[in-house]
């Protein structure tokens, strides 16, 4: 039994999410501009673990008094299926994207019982000239680079209580209006700590189903939600639907994902109707994929 909020139908369904491992990393630089550049590059090609190895994004910007070196910074989150799976991702992303970025430094962005290497591999770029400074429980590596030193903390925390795949599907009759609404929802979600929306601009247009007719494809287009296939497949869409956009949310905790979905839903229902949004639903696989179920009705 669906519910209607401000003229938008909210399906009686749930978003199905699954357990992941997640870590946080703080990237600082001489200016917010350069911290953001390093963070954006380090989280690039990080949309879906299916093809990227990790789901990554910027959690939030940090003022100088929130960072370990008193400079502007950005906290990024990286999610994968296990702590071990995150190791090569961190090594490559920090080594290729943060070490190389002018003026950057890199620190633990998550306190957790378990930790994972952050500067353990990039320090070897120092070719023996790297030195360490241990302050309290943290060890910082100083790697000589051409604009001074790249400072990187040896380890960062990792949690296995993270959640990937929280989602909202926005259905509507105006593609441009739908995109505006989805953007507003992403902006609202960005205000919630400990979550990211890893897809481009936080929005996915290629919602997927599990498996495909082609060998080697783990996922393929979610034909039931493709408007152009309406009438030729068992469609989930009504006759007036022109487009569907999805927002996918990863969080360090289940509560953070629920809070983010709540914030996103509010943004959608507050202004979506006048932009052509007709319905909100969520992606699930009948409860067979993941242990985390976020019922839309409980979040509105």
């Amino acid at each position: 039994m669906s519910t209607t909020v401000n003229g938008i139908q909210i399906d009686d369904t749930f978003a199905e999410a699954f357990g992941m491992s997640g870590t946080g990393i703080i990237i600082t630089a001489d200016s917010m501009k350069w911290a953001r550049i390093a963070a954006t590059v380090a989280t690039g090609f990080g949309t879906s673990v299916i093809g990227c190895g990790a789901e990554c994004g910027i959690d939030r910007e940090l003022s100088p008094d929130e960072t370990p070196d008193g400079r502007p910074g950005v906290r990024i989150l990286i999610f994968g299926f296990s702590p071990d799976a995150l190791v090569p991702q961190i090594r490559n992303r920090i080594g290729q994207c943060v070490l190389t970025s002018p003026g950057s430094a890199c620190y633990a962005g998550l306190k957790a019982a378990q930790s994972i290497g952050l500067g353990k591999a990039p320090r070897f770029f120092g070719d023996g000239f790297q030195t360490a400074k241990k302050l309290g429980d943290s060890r910082y590596w100083r790697v000589p680079v051409m604009d001074g030193e790249f400072v990187v903390e040896e380890e960062t925390g990792v949690t296995t209580d993270a959640v990937g795949g929280g989602n909202v599907l926005i259905v509507g009759k105006d593609r441009a209006g739908l995109l505006e609404t989805a953007e507003a929802a992403v902006d609202a979600i960005a205000k919630i700590d400990d979550v990211i929306t890893p897809f481009p601009g936080g929005i996915v247009r290629s919602g997927s189903k599990v498996g495909a007719k082609y060998a080697g494809m783990f996922a393929s287009s979610n034909d039931a939600f493709c408007p152009t296939l309406r009438g030729t497949v068992k469609s989930e869409l009504g006759p007036d639907t022109l487009a569907v956009l999805e927002i996918v949310i990863d969080g360090l905790t289940s509560k953070a994902v629920a809070d983010a979905m709540r914030a996103g839903l509010k943004a959608i229902t507050d202004t979506g109707a006048k932009r052509g949004v007709t319905r909100v639903t969520a992606g699930n696989y009948g409860g067979k994929l993941g242990q985390h179920h976020y019922h839309l009705k409980e979040l509105i």
Partner: protein, 270 residues
Amino acid sequence: MSGLTLRLKAPANERINLSGITPGRLAALSAHEIARLNVGFDKVGLPLGDAFDVSGSAGETLTIEGSGAQLDYAGSELDSGTLRIVGNTGAYTARRMSGGKLEIRGNAGDFLASGMTGGIIHVSGNAGNSAGGFIPGDRFGMLGGIAVIEGNVGMRVGEKMRRGTIIVRGKTGEGAGSRMIGGTIWAEGGIGPRPGLMMRRGTLIGPSVEELLPTFADCGKHDLVITRVLSCYLKSVLGDLAPKPMPLFVQKIGGDLATIGRGEILLPAS
């Protein structure tokens, strides 16, 4: 002042061994047991109750009053709580301290913080030779924690120091950081002559250095992020006790090139 207080009955005419006299250990003992603890060095021994008046109730804080330079090993093995010493201490103060806070309202003798691995020391006066240094039989000097000394320190502060931070509000004596392996010595009043002899790694920071060894090389003027990290860390742990941050640019002097040369002396860049 709450907690347990030990007040020296009379100026000590023999050396007193305060090894292991910590708030945590005394909290687990009865008043009778505390009075029977041996604080002497020789075979005869010296019951704590004969040397000190004991008052208050044991807990997180222990205060020792009327102390003097005869009191050795004060705060040694301290791992939690607060130990306040009103007066001077002798040698080996905070030996192998691993946690908690040690406040000395006076001067500390030689070998302050030798083998220390954690916690915070605050000395309101001076410290003797080899603060944070090693003693024969040990492999390293200080191994962690923070020592803040409001006055000056003697010779060879931080000798063979491996980790931790020593902040000296005054000046260091000759040979600061000799054979240093790691850690940081920050002398706000200036670094004494010939620091860092045979140092492998580690950092000496100060506004000036009296005389450099010829095996140190000027590496030029730099904006080092690690000095900001260090300042932020010390501010977060020490609050008002933290040293004033270094200016943006520092002059790095690398050495000792007679060894692997990964050590550094950082001075404000002119």
